[in-house]
Symmetry: C2
Amino acid sequence: MAKFQLNILGCGSATPARHLPTSQIIDFRDKLFMIDCGEGAQLAMRRMRLKFSRLNHIFLSHLHGDHCFGLPGLLSTLALHQKEGIVTIHTFKEGAEIFGKILDFFCRDTSFEIKFNIIDENSGIIYEDDALTVETFPLYHRVPCVGFIFREKPKLRHLRGDMVKFYNVPIKELHNLKCGADFITPDGKVVANERLTTAADPAMSYAYCSDTIFDTRVAKAVKGVDVIYHEATYTDEYAAKARDRGHATASEAARIAQMAGASRLILGHYSKRYLDEKTHLEEAGAIFPNVTAANEGMKIDIL
Amino acid sequence: MAKFQLNILGCGSATPARHLPTSQIIDFRDKLFMIDCGEGAQLAMRRMRLKFSRLNHIFLSHLHGDHCFGLPGLLSTLALHQKEGIVTIHTFKEGAEIFGKILDFFCRDTSFEIKFNIIDENSGIIYEDDALTVETFPLYHRVPCVGFIFREKPKLRHLRGDMVKFYNVPIKELHNLKCGADFITPDGKVVANERLTTAADPAMSYAYCSDTIFDTRVAKAVKGVDVIYHEATYTDEYAAKARDRGHATASEAARIAQMAGASRLILGHYSKRYLDEKTHLEEAGAIFPNVTAANEGMKIDIL
């Protein structure tokens, strides 16, 4: 199966301590996509053996330091590694301005081009290639903030080798079969596609929801997504504090996953007050059973 | 003995890998002084149990990212810890400008005041309290760069309890004795200070030399300093590359320590090409025996 894997570089909140600040990498086939870039992200990438040369897109959800202070160091390191091509940073206008100034000063003469793609709080596709789209949707935090949905495009059907051979299908027809076309034999007979192929693997999707309060509009935005990461800064005990600070609890994350009909929920962005994530898992698990507490170094297949 | 201790937070060069980028803390009695602030410095401080509340001065040697990209994250964390008082950042004019902009954007409403003390490439005292001075001196790198010398002020002589008692010295006279004054008894007899006190502990000094090429002017500037940290990005094999990149080798660091008459040399700022510091130590040790290769987490008493 083609690779679609979430890598947790950091899953803590504001102050790095037991956890690093937030950063993730989606490893999608031959490309890496970074979501948020907290301090230490470059080192975490290296530890997880994710190659700098494969990284060309960085998505910043919002402009709080724990989600972006690793950016200047990462880009400096890419330059030292003689990276080539274009690195696109998807961020709000203010992010492009402030990081633009920093990079102008510290990262002159990089071996690669740095581009900013200005995003806003509206929903919309901000990246597309032949196999994947990335779209934004609004989150509800203390400052403008968006989540990201990574959607695999529909995949090709699998050829049935025995049948393809039996009907002597020429090589130039194979791609059409994978796309669902029937095969017409030289003597005009129609062979139904279902006889020659089996169903494509399902196209999977991943949604990143951090930072945000609990809001049913988030559930609506990520409806039908397979795997959801939702911030769970606090446990039930601090539900009021969560709302006050623009954050969510583990239970609230679970309710979003449940409402959205997800198959799996990943929790993260834990407050440093917690020594482990047992309570987060208990509270979320009571509402939505297939829940995982993110941890640095974790690799999760999106399937 | 009063505390004067060097803490190594990071001792790597440009790209964090086996070592973190450069940062050190001088733990001097009740105060912490940070020298350079590479990415990850705040986390390293926490790991070494150096309290944020004791840190009020940060000295930046030059404006390369591996020496200052940890600053925004550190200051954000200080704010989250409700730190009070003033934090002074000693840096070049351009550093104050660029970090001023970053902090204006990301660290509004801090609980403490951030001040910039603008330094330049000349030598001079930039910090002084009743027990310590910090002075700059020029280094020779690709961009403007200074080193820092931490000098303890002369200490007080030690009272000889038995003699103080024998001569019935009144309490109000004790400080004068510690400063070297003789004691005059009520009947006019002069008791020489040497009978009442023993010599003060020596006032120690520490010099930080990074980043720089090998230059005899550096040895002159740190002449007489007890403990010298000197960058040793490379070993002899890469001496030409060192000069070309504005850096020094371990042997060159040793020659500086030797010329300056230091008692101890600390090496650091290793290129990531090295898997360990064996060769650095061998090459430097052949010239200057009392040499230590810095490593993260190391605490070195300046004595």
